[in-house]
Structures are given as structure tokens and as C-alpha cells.
Symmetry: C2
Subunit: 140 residues, 2 copies
DNA sequence: AATCGTATGCAACAGAGTTGCAAAATATTC
DNA sequence: GAATATTTTGCAACTCTGTTGCATACGATT
């Protein structure tokens, strides 16, 4: 576990520091996306706010994590899949926010629909966030 | 013009106040979406921050405007089309943010693609935000 | 182990967003 | 149309979020 985390940091030419290891570990051990506040107030750990901001920023720049937009000023962050490493962001997936458990997850395996644009418009990036109920919450 | 604004407010059972008229007028006379800061610092008008927050909140609740999510904590607001009045939000359109002029617009006439979800997942709302270049900026 | 470069944490700040409350404006009633 | 009731506004004060500069601490390199 330790080694995998260090390896990811090294692969992205980042110094392997205690904070970065701990924060990256949070992402690796959580299946859902995390908000800044989730990380800052994570039980058992007390991270300096500034360190969390800077770490998330560096991770996004390096393509280790990506942002998930939201309609209520609570941006979340999630791990990128392998082909995003080295700074190439190719987010051809969408995001699902469950209104039951609040969990945000990436749906990687479901094809991104192509959207038709008006004449002379060109698209760089398409963000899709779906709000609904996940299978776990539906059963309850 | 004045009468149309008052009519919209009255239709939503809101008192017709000076601030609400002015803010609603900003939306009616701007084709793009507006951020909180756009409204607060609008040239010629000085709105109290608190009033702007409360007005936008009420407008969203009543379905006069809707929010447009973003990946950088800068939520924008845009007018809803007619069938959204009376609080029924049926946003079956997507949003386009131009990286050239920064303008955010609603694309109402382009069909929303249906997205396939994992087994036992259900969707309430699909938010699509496309980043790209609009026709005006492309010509330059 | 010593040096170099980067990351961290603190302080201080700027901005975003919220709440309570008295004053002012709007709606309602007669 | 004036008086009353209701709602909205603006101010003050506050919390939370996010940023920057800088000295110290840490990790990488030799």
C-alpha cells in the first residue's frame, strides 16, 4: 500500500511527503469522491487548510485527481484512471451523485453520449453530472 | 418592459420590490447567465450583497431562474423558460461556456442525450456543461 | 552526512455566504 | 386613500472558504 502511494507520487515527479501520502491514501481507500472539507476534517488526521489546498491543486495539475463540478459550490475531487496520469486529462466519463447517501462516484464504463452543438460552436470538454439514487439506496 | 417584470413577480406570488425588479431586469436584458458577483457589481446599480443572495435564492425556489454548476466555485444563474414557472424545474437543456468570451448560455433547442446508467440506478436530473468556443469567438 | 530545493504551517488577509434585527417598503384591509 | 399587517431590505457581525508571503522543516540529491 505504502509503496503504491509512493510510486504514484514519484511517477508524477512529486516529492514523497507525509501529507501527500496521507491525502492520496484517502482517495485510494475511498471509492467515492472527496470534497476539500472531507479531507480537512478527516477523523484522526489534522491537515492544515493551506496544505490541503496546495496538495489538491498539485494533484489536479499532475492528473492524479480531477474535479467534479457541482451546483452548490462544493466541488469534489476523484482519482483519475490510469491514462490520466502524467497530466493528460481525458475524462471521458461522467459523474453520479446519489441523493440518498450523498456519495459521488465516477461512472467510467458508460459511454459518453455525443452532444449536438449549434453551427460554428466547438466543444473542448463535456461535463455530465447526474443526480439520482444509487442501487444501494434504492434497496432500502 | 416594466409591466412584464411585475407580472412575472406577481405570477410567482412575490412582492414587487425595487431590487427584485432591477435584478430580474438584468436577467431579461442579458442573454447569458449571470454570477452573483456580476449582479452585485453591475454598473450603475449598487445592490446589497445580502439582498442579492436572498433574491437569487427566492428566484431559484420559484423557478424563475436556475443554477448552472461549475468546476471552479462560480455558480451562474440563468432565466428558466416558461414551463419552469411556478416552481416546476424541468431543465431539459444543457449549458455552454465559451472559453473565449466567458459567456455562459443555455442551449434549449438541442436534444438532451439519454445516458445509460448501471443496473438499479435511477436518475432525477442530468446536468451537462460543455466548455468550448462559441461561433462569435471562433470567427475572430 | 551535508547541501540544495521544495513543501509545510503560520499569520494575515480577501472574498463568499449566513443570520438577527430594526427600519423601510409593499400589500392588505377597511 | 389612510391605517394596519406583512414582507423585504440593509446593516452589523459573524463563519467559512480560499489565497499569499515568509520562515522553518522536510525530503531529495550528492
Amino acid at each position: 500500500m505504502e509503496s503504491r502511494i509512493s510510486e504514484i507520487l514519484r511517477r508524477n515527479r512529486l516529492s514523497v511527503t507525509s501529507s501527500r501520502q496521507k491525502i492520496l491514501n484517502l482517495f485510494l481507500s475511498n471509492s467515492g469522491a472527496l470534497a476539500h472539507a472531507d479531507i480537512e476534517h478527516k477523523a484522526g488526521e489534522k491537515f492544515d487548510r493551506v496544505t490541503v489546498y496546495r496538495t489538491l491543486q498539485v494533484f489536479v495539475e499532475k492528473g492524479i485527481i480531477h474535479t467534479i463540478p457541482s451546483g452548490d459550490n462544493s466541488i469534489k475531487y476523484a482519482l483519475c484512471k490510469n491514462d490520466c496520469f502524467e497530466g493528460r486529462h481525458h475524462d471521458n466519463h461522467f459523474h453520479f451523485v446519489c441523493s440518498g447517501c450523498g456519495k459521488t462516484e465516477c461512472l467510467e464504463d458508460f459511454i459518453m453520449p455525443s452532444v449536438k452543438l449549434p453551427r460554428d460552436y466547438s466543444a473542448n470538454n463535456v461535463e455530465i453530472v447526474i443526480n439520482g439514487v444509487c442501487s444501494n439506496c434504492r434497496k432500502k
